[in-house]
Amino acid sequence: MIRALSITRSIHDWLYSSMSENMAYFIEMVLIAIVYLAIFAVAGLFLVLIERRVAAWFQLRIGPNRVGFQGLLQTMADALKLLSKELTGTEKADKFLYNLAPYFVIITALMALAVIPFTQDFQAFDINIGILFLIAISSIGVIGILLGGWSSNNKFALIGAMRSGVQTISYELSIGLSLLTMILITGSLQLSEIVEVQKSGWLIVQGHIPAIIAFMIYMIAGTAETNRAPFDMAEAESELGAGFHTEYSGMKFAYFFLAEFINMFIIAAIATTVFFGAWLSPFGITESIPILGVFWFLAKAMVLVFLMMWFRWTFPRLRVDQLLTLEWKYLLPLNLMNIVIMALIVWLNLTIQF
């Protein structure tokens, strides 16, 4: 739980002193859940705004700049608009699964957020198999998309869901293997330990060439995992209308939408943690001020998020069979080769350490 930040410490003490242990425990859990929900909502809305502004700048436009200062409240207004919209649906849709699907997507995104080390001790759930947990959680998120596509009783949505399923199952391999490459250096799956190892140099520096290859594979697979262009097969608006969320409206659509952006942030956050030293400052310049770790973490994650946006607004979309070709013929063999090279490097002690 959140320990080092002194305010949380005092809240913790006060809770345990003023009521029974179970009650305090329960309240603490609720508090943390609320904190993470807040992070989730703010980050989601903020990322949507960033995406729209960045897209506008790539496309020689201005972007939203009316609501609030420089359009800062634009997504808030959009969320309010979506909240007030009618929740439509198709006839003969499987209503239970149709309503359930968005929550799958959003809850898995939220759960993944829990293990991310924003800074020293700012991590809700420092589990000893952190990376594995992230992979496990991300594999559940796809169920929401599959369900949403199937239960809307729409053929375009069904095709979108199928594509998404195929894509996510394939690219999970690459994500796992490229992270595994880095695990060879750290020797631990625990995220806090992975950060600890990087105090003697970020992993992308420590592992040099294979680490860079692993990073590239990770970014490609991560973009595919979040269903973003150029891998947005599940939505593919010029082919399928809106893909799996064709029949969703109002807040249920917004859940899918927000989850996409949170997933993008999570992918960037994992990359930051595993490749770029999480909250560690470059060359240790702000070692003495631990709270700046949040800044460094977010800055690095934002750069990677920007990279993914750059991909999205530049590249054409792949076709569904080319998507699988890319994974099974290019990324996977390269990844396996890369693991062997990395193992050799770790074995021969060729890693670069400061």
Partner: protein, 174 residues
Amino acid sequence: MERIIFYSIALIMVVFAIASVTSRKMLRSVIYLLFVLCGVAGIYFLIDYNFLAAIQLTVYAGGIIVLIIFSVLLVHHIEMQLEIAKLSRQILTAVACMVGLGIFLTTIYSHEFNVVENSRTTTTADIGSKLLSYEAGGFILPFEVISVLLLAAMIGAIIIAKGAKLTGKNDKAL
């Protein structure tokens, strides 16, 4: 606190297990099953078997369930419902289930369970070295046998997938 969590998870699992076998819509059954599996993972987390919990999520929830959903998606139309079985069969199944439950409960209640204080969590490194150890208590043989089995399954899958194409060469009509 842990007791409360355990009982709530157990309740969820029981409810959804019953829902899973009684639902007449196939995909809904699968989703109920998914909740049961997630509940199992929750219990693993509760007793600090993190690795097993994550594996449970990856393999069962993320892998098997997705595959089942996928096959349901391929063959199942949204309006299709499973038939209700005949009354005689229903009774037969209920009796069989009751007998099974009875056996389990008697076994569980007749055995004395000792409460062991869980002092340390199993790390991945421990599990890895256990899997590759060939000393007493090592799992190298089953581990290797399973990998051979998986390889065989993979080759079989490839052959089934390629089958149509291989015969297609001779058959012009295809």
